[in-house]
Symmetry: C2
């Protein structure tokens, strides 16, 4: 979701290769595209760039005029810190509140450890909005890679009806209202094909 939202919201053209998760969690048909056999992967000039954070850095370098990281050096350091923190962290939350665009599970999965993750995310959002968010409604005002990184969390909070304090709630709503995020969620709701682990991979019907 993150690189897709980043590219789409920044109006950078790309082609999608549609693949399906099997019920074994593997991505069927990924082998020729990704050295890790995982998504996301971005093919640049025929060569793979993998992992959401490395894709963000590559795209930000390729399109400096899109300002995908904040221009201010201190804001940029914070943006990368909170993206890296999300990249490797918040495992209690991710484990207990899986992403499910189509579902509503109010309160499901909550525990003190999950609440700890939520509290830290709220703290990050409030701090960014207060210190760096003056130029707009997002973490660093205008859209940056950091918003793409926190979009899946906002979706989880929606699915699980997590109660947020006002500044965090307003940010979550601004994030979910971004055209790219809305489009991703709409497409995900229409997506319901899975392949069985023992089913040979076939291209999807056109």
């Amino acid at each position: 979701m993150r690189p897709w939202v980043l590219l789409k919201q920044a109006d950078i053209a790309f082609e999608e290769i549609q693949l399906w998760f099997g019920d074994d969690g593997a991505v069927h048909g990924i082998e020729p595209h990704s050295p890790t056999r995982k998504v996301p992967v971005l093919i640049v000039d025929g060569e793979p760039v993998w992992d959401s954070l490395a894709i963000c850095e590559a795209v930000a370098e390729m399109f400096p005029q899109k300002r995908l990281w904040p221009e201010d050096v201190r804001a940029r350091q914070i943006a990368r810190s909170i993206c890296a923190e999300m990249h490797a962290g918040f495992r209690e939350l991710r484990g207990a509140m899986p992403m499910n665009i189509s579902a509503s599970f109010p309160g499901k999965g909550m525990s003190p450890e999950v609440q700890g993750d939520i509290d830290r995310i709220v703290n990050i959002w409030e701090s960014c909005r207060e210190h760096h968010g003056k130029g707009g409604h997002l973490l660093f005002g205008q859209f940056t890679a950091a918003d793409a990184f926190y979009a899946p969390v906002a979706s989880r909070f929606l699915t699980h009806a997590v109660t947020l304090p006002p500044v965090a709630q307003a940010y979550a709503e601004a994030l979910l209202a971004l055209p790219a995020v809305r489009e991703w969620m709409e497409q995900a709701r229409r997506e319901n094909r899975f392949v069985r682990a023992d089913e040979p991979y076939r291209s999807a019907p056109a």
Copy 2:
């Protein structure tokens, strides 16, 4: 270890704040320094930059002449991809073969899942050495942030006497022979103070 090795090997001056892990896994005395209460954290102009990957990016931006990422754009994309892959991945290996500079546990912790992580790391090392490593003995020839990121893994392989194919073994040896890695390991071997979870934090005796 990663940011320390990065800064040290690149000959960038910094001051260390020495803190101790408690037996509860928390870092005692971290609160005033790190918003995540975790290490590593780098204080730049009085403000924290946290998480190893964000610290690498900040330092690389501050010291472009140190070439902490490869100069070639394609090599740089790969370097960031493999750092991000390490940042959030290889959890089987990390869980089963914890870092212990002072110990030797040949074979301990091995399983098919751990071997899968090792195979992927060997594949990364071999591919980088073959395609990008011509200018030296490291992943991208000369020292880059990617070597700092894989230094803890090389240390785990040493502790657990993991058998590697020749190219990977030669790289692991080159990495462990870097002056900054040797210095970190020597200092770590001398470090044996821990604080109990219920012990109030005190500065270390001078």
